[in-house]
Amino acid sequence: MRAVPTRERSEFDLLAMLCILPSLLYVLCMFVYPFLYGLYLSLRPPKIAGFSLANYLTFFGDPYQYGTIWITFSLAVPNTIVVLLLSLFLAYGMRRGFFMERTVTTILILPISLGVILLSEGILGFYGSQGWLNQAIIALGLVSEPFILTHNYIGVILALFMQQFPFCFLMLLGYISGIDPSLERSARMLGATPWTVFRRVMLPLIAPGLAIAFALVFVMSFAVFPSAIMLGQPSGSTRTISIAAYQQAFEQYDMSYASAIAVVMGLCQLVALIVIILLRRRMAPAATMGVGKR
């Protein structure tokens, strides 16, 4: 038998290549390419030859357009904060299992699966001025006039909250219950009250999950579209940036401008993500609250 110099077999052989190729190509062609194409298109407004930032200048020169950034932030940020705080409160409190857990988690899946359209339609009915909620509080004599909860900012926030809360709650619940329970127990044995346990032991360990959850919820809230139309005032107080992009694409047929707006939307989300990451870095050393460093 002649000696053959052995060559290290790569784990990425022909079989691996063949298996990965279809999906990889798909993601590259249908995700990466459109992104790049959109970016390219945004820099080539129809009436100007060559590359130009005209779209962006127009966008930032028109209050009706750039105002959408502020509107969208003012919807996304409060919603994210409320969703996160409530989810944290509930997930932490219920981290060790709770009564009828399976049933409750199943019901919480509903808003996620049913989708935003059904939810919005339901909110229009239930929270409308003739809806059950207003009927109830008027019947109880709490108010004399119905609360206007739809076709305004509040309606959109309601829809956003109901969509994001179950998602965030279930995410955090899974994450928090994954933390080793003996850490909590040992902290209590060392004399820490439940609040101290939360503040000094659990919260630092939950922080990474919190940051990711915050980022995800914010990014999803920022892209709000159908509920802003159905439950808000799409041409007024709840004209979000996604509406602006949509209108350019499908009402004005100016794909170039629409792409520019989509790019701006993506950039805003990216900036927010970076801010979240930086904040987390800054908070991490403080999380290891210790005694006397040498």
């Binding site: 040992s186 060392l190 820490a192 210790g290 006397g292």
Partner: protein
């Protein structure tokens, strides 16, 4: 020489714990005196860790009470009981350094930073980890992590130390070393300790008293010698290494000696006053106590031989079909015919089950 702790004087318990219809602890009653090292010993699922958890205050008992120095302690939450606890998986805070971990309990009290630093360093010196203050748990070996966990609990000068199978995750050699360290610390500091384990060697070497549990029931409580040499029932005997059991009928009884017959084998053992002639009972003997030829000799054929270094452990099939285990320094071979003797002092008489 580190100062001794203000340990408790007495701890009295009577605990029952049920989960739905399942009883995990069935009126476990005992009293622990200050300075004692008590071990809860038993197979997994016997309730020993549950008992410890109830003493710590982490789990509520279904029925029963805990009396600490004459005062009821059940309603105290764990953080107010002043007990120290060491867990099987160390439970060190991963985001804190060794120093911060050990100092954690101290930072909850109104102490000056210098005092805290001094106490932490004293404790680290005791567990031989001085110099490791700035390391993180993830950078330590299993044995080192366990020592940090011990230091963290001890630095608070607890009245009672609770150990929940602390050495189970360590390899055999380390286990033996750490065992000696724990024993030494307990003695030096004058601790009172409750230790939970399934390892009988650990229990025997560490304890002043062993409590053997099975399915939540106390099977026997006594000194290591009592448990080892004079088990009171078949379960404890089996757990402590008696591999050979005979179901016998008491054929004769005289002068504190009982003769039991099981098929072709007749064994004799010392008997107390509660043995009845003609009753069914169990007699047991350890593999190392069976002699090659001698009293009550029974013949058998060697079927399996396991080499253990200095000794061999052999499975012997005796006339009548029973298989016995013998441990001996003699060299045996498969197929040999041997004659076995059962010294009366080494046979234990146990109640029938």
């Amino acid at each position: 020489m580190p100062e001794q702790f203000n340990s408790l004087n007495s701890l009295r318990l009577g605990l029952t714990k049920r989960y739905g219809s399942k009883t995990v602890l069935d009126n476990l009653a005992l009293e622990i005196r200050g300075g004692e090292f008590v071990t809860f010993l038993g197979p997994s699922g016997c309730g020993k860790s549950t008992a410890l958890s109830i003493v710590a205050g982490l789990t509520p008992a279904t029925e029963g009470e805990i009396w600490l120095d004459g005062k009821r302690a059940d309603d105290l939450p764990p953080e107010k009981r002043g007990f120290g606890m060491v867990f099987q998986n160390y439970a060190l805070f991963p985001h804190m350094t060794v120093f911060d971990n050990v100092a954690f309990g101290l930072t909850l009290k109104p102490l000056m930073k210098d005092e805290i630093k001094r106490r932490v360093q004293d404790m680290l010196r005791l567990v031989q980890l001085l110099g490791f203050e700035d390391r993180y748990p993830g950078q330590l070996s299993g044995g080192q992590q366990q020592r940090v966990a011990i230091a963290r609990a001890l630095v608070l000068r607890p009245r009672l130390m609770l150990f929940d199978e602390p050495l189970s995750n360590l390899d055999a050699k380390l286990r033996v070393e750490m065992r000696a360290e724990i024993k030494q610390i307990h003695a030096e500091l004058g601790l009172t300790s409750i230790y939970v384990t399934h390892d009988q060697a650990e229990a025997l070497s560490l304890s002043d008293r062993i409590v053997v549990l099975r399915h939540g029931v106390l099977m026997q409580s006594g000194s290591p010698q009592d448990i080892h040499d004079r088990p009171k029932n078949a379960f404890v005997a089996d757990f402590m290494g008696f591999r050979n059991f005979f179901k016998v009928k008491i054929a004769s009884l005289s002068q504190g000696m009982a003769e039991g017959v099981s098929g072709v084998v007749t064994l004799r053992a010392r008997a107390g006053g509660d043995v009845v002639l003609g009753a069914n009972a169990i007699m047991a003997i350890r593999p190392d106590d069976i002699e090659l030829s001698g009293e009550g000799a029974v013949c058998g054929r060697v079927e399996i031989v396991e080499y253990l270094g200095r000794e061999q452990e052999a499975a012997i099939r005796i006339d009548g079909g029973t298989k016995l285990w013998l441990r001996t320094t003699s060299r045996l071979q498969v197929g040999d015919t041997v004659s076995l003797g059962f010294p009366i002092d080494k046979v234990v008489l146990l109640p029938n089950e």
